[in-house]
Structure formats: structure tokens, C-alpha cells
Symmetry: none
Subunit: 207 residues, 4 copies
DNA sequence: AATGAATGAGGCTTCATTCAT
DNA sequence: AATGAATGAAGCCTCATTCAT
């Protein structure tokens, strides 16, 4: 697959068009006809690549949740402090929602249309992802690294202020993704009750 | 009008059913047939009360944004510190999103279907609402009351961690709305860099 | 009834509004809602005056065909020449279609919606009316007064060039109804092959 | 295209069914369901061929006005007397309204449903067509060939007695189209004040 | 892999009409 | 005589999808 480059296959083009349309208009408000027209193809042709509209959605959603989870997995370091782990989590979280805003908006939207099996997989992902953060918070709180208001709402606050980025962030704005990570990393540190006066943000990702 | 009581008129019942359905399934995924059926009426009857599906949506949206803004207006105190003003704003914000979760989800969803004039009114509301918080933050930062990471992302963070409450909060959960306000008030204080070690939360609203 | 004056009763007003709307937009394209709105009343109120939409139409049509036939009846003179009778017929015919253009357009439109009994009455009227002209033509042809191309197409030509007036005639145009009668009287004379070089048109109707 | 033969494509069949129904019942009184049923297809299939009901109507109307104008254009001869030009115009006019009675009825009906652009094209056609006859009449009157009662009503009379043919003419009646042309040619000659005692009608069109 | 055409289901909405008040 | 509300039927049209080519 050619992630983020120009689409090379018709299937990839269809997916990209669908991503844009689902993100901008919503899944229900997007018709197969519109997608086909934007792709430059007749509606029937879509079905040579994806058996149903839901499969287009699923291709997007599955890729997105897999990708996000993989990124968190890849960022995990062994024998690291709760603080550093939390900071890393936040940066990966924020970075994804800034650089993959369209996909994120699709995943975070109400996606009840998915088959129950697929829907369950999304819910599982959400549960695991949320638990990953919660466990970090609980760990840091337990060993005295953090000073939380409470676990539940702090988890939600960190998660959701990051997710909301996909609703307003524009890549051509004043902040590049790494600067955004810096800001939200500091917000997170404050939410967990950690004062790190002059410590710089974690090293940024090379572009 | 019978706000939040049992609906007494057919029009109010229709509105309540629509609120639930738009919030749960989304506007596009909700059909007039479904609403009619849930109301216990034939589809044509809906049109005796609301001339079009969009008007149902607008009745909900207009009421919600008017109500939220009115609550913030009503909470404004004169000659008050930036800190107290901010804390009040957050409590009103959080309280509304907890107690009016369905309406809030509808308003915060992508509502491009609205006529351009109505859509503009929503955008205006959002701009004013956001500016209200931003001005509070800017004021507190200027007089040294606050110590912000930055204005823009702090504004978004406070706003959106509150808005997200409407996605997960359940009235029958462990936290009642005022307790929720307490928590998010403390989150907000941390985000704006204010340590108020033992100060209690602002007085709560009588139920 | 108050023919042509301002409508004095609600029923008459409804009829007048219906005449205008049926004539301008057509029967099928006119809704009871529109009529009610133009009258300044709610749709249900129409039914206090006319039991159905078709009855509104019938009230118009019956009045029109009765009126037109009555006018022809009233114009009949005893012991008169075929020529004078024909000229009188044409003038009454033309005059009606100029002064009652809206009603005429309704009657002459496709009015299949009428119940079969009513539709039959319209067809009867048309047959009688056409026969009246045809008999005049046949009579004049038989005694040598006229020199027809043929009976059938001449009948249609005279009838229809008059009926078509209701499609274009405007009361505020350059010709008043009596001048119009003059012109069409002369057209008819030519069609029946009668040269009446300098004879003036028949005396006109007092306004 | 298979003009007037049996329809060979589904689109053509749809058009023919629509022509019959619009002509017989009227545009507003004809539903897409009815057309589909008469064609032997489901309603949705109509939209694979014509994007909207109005487009069906327009396909008919545009073809008709184009065709009629083309016929008049094709019949124009150079260096011809006003009389011969007029006789030719009338024959083409009458012939079209006899052989294309259904289309003519549709075009001559009130077709306000058309988009304003299309409606304007119909009005333009009507204006040009009427002017074509009027110019003939004016020309013949100016050089003394004709002796008109007046230009305006003579134009309307000739035009409309021909148009009305589409309302009553039946191809299986006693007169074939060319005989009908003969009759109306003679009517027209009389209306323009020309006596051509024994001159035969213009040569007829080979079938 | 692409598509023209068909379709069952359903979308929103309007219609004429009724009926209790 | 007027009307608010309800409704069965039907209006036009779009939807996702299928299938033969």
C-alpha cells in the first residue's frame, strides 16, 4: 500500500476519495454515486473493488485503529518512568490526530452502521486504547509520580482534548504537528499534576 | 413550555423523539418515518407541526445554542476575578453538556444540512462562545492570574474536554453533574496554571 | 350571485380565486392549499363551501357552459337570414371568449377529472354548441347564401379561432371586445365565402 | 434515431409512452409511476434514462419545436411570391399538427413547469414562428397580393385554426393529412382575401 | 476492471380530505 | 363557518446494489 503518497491503484484512489467524503460530509450523507463521480468512474465499478459501502468504511476504520494502536505499540519503551511513558503516549496520540485528521474524524464518529462484529472490534479498540492510558495514569498515581484529580475524568480529558484536534487542526496553520505535540504534552503534564518547570518537551519526530 | 418535564403537546413529543433519535443515530440516519412511528403518528402528521425535517433539527439546535449562551450570560458576575469567572464558565459549560448530552451531541455534530443562514447562526454562536472563553483566558494571563501554555490550544482543550462529556456521561453513573463540575473545574485550573491547593470548588447549583 | 362584481360571499371569493388559479396554472397544478391561502382561509374551510376540489371545478365549468349557451340562445332572432344568424353567433362566441377568458380556458382544457356524468354534460354541451354552428353553415350553404370549402373544417375553424382568443386576449390591449368581434366577424364572412364589401359590422353591444 | 417507427431503444419507448400520456392526460396528471408501468419497467428505471420528469417533457418539447421550425425552414423557397410562400407555410403548419397531434398538444399546452431557461426557449420559438407568418402576411399586404382584415388577428386565426387540428384530428378519419392541408390552405386564402377560383391546391407531399 | 441498465426499498414531502372542536 | 390536527395515498426521486456484457 502507498500510505499517504499519491494513490497508485484505483482501489486506493477510491479509498482516499471515500476518506475525504466521509470525513467532510459524514458516512450517511455520502452516496456511492458521489464517490464514484469524484473518482471518475461509474457507481457499479466501485463494487469491483469493495463489495459494499460498509466495506469501504471498514477499510478506513480498520486501517485507522490498527495504525494508531501500532504507533502506540511502537513507541513503548521498556523500563521507562510513568512520566516519560505518559508523555510519549500523548505525543503519539496528538500527532496521529493532527496528521490523520480525516481518518480520525471517521473513526470517532458514530459508526453504528458497521456490522456488529466490526462494531465490536471498534469498541474493543477503544476500550484497549483507553485502558492503555488509564493504566499509565493509575501507575503514575500509585508510585507518586502523578497527582491526579481522578483517574476517570483525567483519562477522558487527555484522550478527548487530543481527539478533538482532528476537528479543527489544519496542516497549513501556524502550528506544525510537533509544535502541537509540545503544547498538548504540557497540557497533559498539568492535568496529571506534574510540574516540570524548564524541562523541554520530548524530542520530536523527524519529519 | 414544559422544559424537561414530560411533553405535554404533540409538538413537544415530536421534538423529544427527534432529539433522542438525532443524538443516538445521527440526523442523516434518522428518517421521518421512524420519528413518526416512535411518536405514534403517521409521517404526514409531522408536517402539521414542522414543515420539514430540517426545521425539526433547527428547533433543537436553535434552542440548544440559545440556552447554552443564556446560561453563560446569566452566570456572569460583575467585578469578579478572572479566576472566578473562568471557574464559573467551566462549571456552566460542563453542567450543560452533562445535563443536555443529547442536545449537545446534536449541536456539536456536523450540521451542514442546515440552510446557509441557519448554519451561519451556528457558526456565529460557536465563534462567540469560544471567544468568551478565550477572552477570559487572555484577561487572566494579562494580569498574571493565569499562567497559560498558550491561548489557542488551552481554549480548545477546556472547551472540548467539556463538550466530550456529552459523548460518555450517563446520568445514572457514579458522578452527578455537580461532582462532574468539580472535577472539570479542577482540570481547568490546572490547565491555566493555577494552584488552588485546598480551595473548595465553587458552590454547586441546587438541583 | 354577483356576476363579475366584487365577490360578496366567501363562496364566491373561493370560486373567483379558483377560476384564476385553474386558468393560470391548470387544475392539476392547483392545490386546495394554494386556493385556501389565496382566499385567506385554512384548507379545511374550503370544504364548508365545496365538498371537493372537483366540485369547485364543476361550479366553474357548469356556469360557463350554461352561460355561453344562454347567450347564444338569447341572441337567436326569428325569421332571420342565415348570414345574419351566423354573424350573430360569431359575435357572441368571440365576445364570450374575450370577456370570460379565464373561464373559457378552463372549460376548453382537458377536464377528464370530472366525474363521468359531468364530463358527459360537457361533451353534450360541446356537441350541441358545435352543431348549432354547423347547422347554420349547412343552412346557408343549402340556400346558396354561403359558399363553403367544406362544412366540417369550416365549423372547426370558426369555432377554434374564437376559442383561441381566450389564450391571448388581454382586456387592456389595443382592441376592445367589440372591435375584436368586428374583426372575427369579417374573418368568418370570408371563411364562409361571403363578400360584404362595405357592409358595416353588426351593431355592437352596449357596454 | 427511429422517427415514428417502432421504438427500438428503451429510452425511445419511454419517450413514446410519455408523449401519449402527456398528450392524453396532461403533464401534471401523468405520474412517473404510470409511465413506468406502461413502459413495463419500475419507476426507478426511468431515471437511468431521464434525470427528472421535466427532462422527459423537455425532450418532447425541444424535439417538437425544433422539428416544426426545421420543416418550415426546409419548405422556404427563394424568389417566390408571397402567396405561394403563405400557402406553403399553411400546409407545413397543418400537416405537422395533423401528423404530430400528440406532440403538438403537449407543446401548445401551458408548460410553465419547465425551467425558466427552457420556458424562455419555448417562448422564443413561439415568437419566431408567429413572426414568420406575420412577416409573410405583412409582405403580401404591402405589395397588394393580399387584402387583410388586419395583421394581428389574421395571424392568430391562421395559426390557431391549424393548431386546433391537433385536438380533433384522427388519422383514421375521413380526411388524410394532405386533404386536410388542401382545406386549410383554402381557408387561409380566404382569410387573406385572395380568390383563386379554380387553382388547385399546392402539390401534396408524397407519403 | 468497467459499465449501462434494472430494481426493491425507502427517502422527504404534498395531496385531498375528514373530523372533532 | 372556521380550523388544528390527523391521515391514506401518492407524488418525485435517490439509494445501494446486482447483473449481463
Amino acid at each position: 500500500m502507498s500510505h499517504h503518497g499519491a494513490p497508485v491503484t484505483t482501489s486506493e484512489l477510491m479509498l482516499q476519495i471515500a476518506i475525504r467524503s466521509f470525513a467532510d460530509r459524514g458516512y450517511e450523507a455520502t452516496s456511492m454515486r458521489q464517490i464514484a463521480q469524484d473518482v471518475g468512474v461509474k457507481p457499479a465499478s466501485l463494487y469491483n473493488h469493495y463489495p459494499a459501502k460498509e466495506d469501504l468504511l471498514w477499510a478506513i476504520v480498520e486501517d485507522a485503529i490498527t495504525e494508531l494502536e501500532a504507533r502506540q505499540d511502537a513507541a513503548v519503551e521498556v523500563d521507562v518512568t510513568p512520566l516519560r511513558a505518559l508523555r510519549t503516549f500523548v505525543r503519539v496520540h496528538v500527532r496521529y490526530h493532527a496528521t490523520h485528521a480525516q481518518e480520525a474524524r471517521i473513526v470517532n464518529a458514530r459508526i453504528r452502521v458497521l456490522s456488529s462484529e466490526r462494531y465490536a472490534r471498534v469498541l474493543d479498540f477503544r476500550k484497549r486504547y483507553e485502558r492503555r492510558l488509564r493504566d499509565l495514569l493509575v501507575g503514575g498515581d500509585a508510585d507518586g509520580s502523578f497527582d491526579l484529580v481522578d483517574v476517570k475524568t483525567t483519562t477522558f480529558a487527555i484522550l478527548q482534548m487530543g481527539m478533538a484536534i482532528s476537528d479543527w487542526y489544519r496542516p497549513d496553520g501556524e502550528l506544525d504537528p510537533e509544535e502541537l505535540c509540545d503544547r498538548y504534552e504540557r497540557h497533559a503534564l498539568r492535568l496529571i499534576g506534574v510540574r516540570v518547570p524548564d524541562e523541554p518537551a520530548l524530542e520530536r519526530l523527524a519529519e
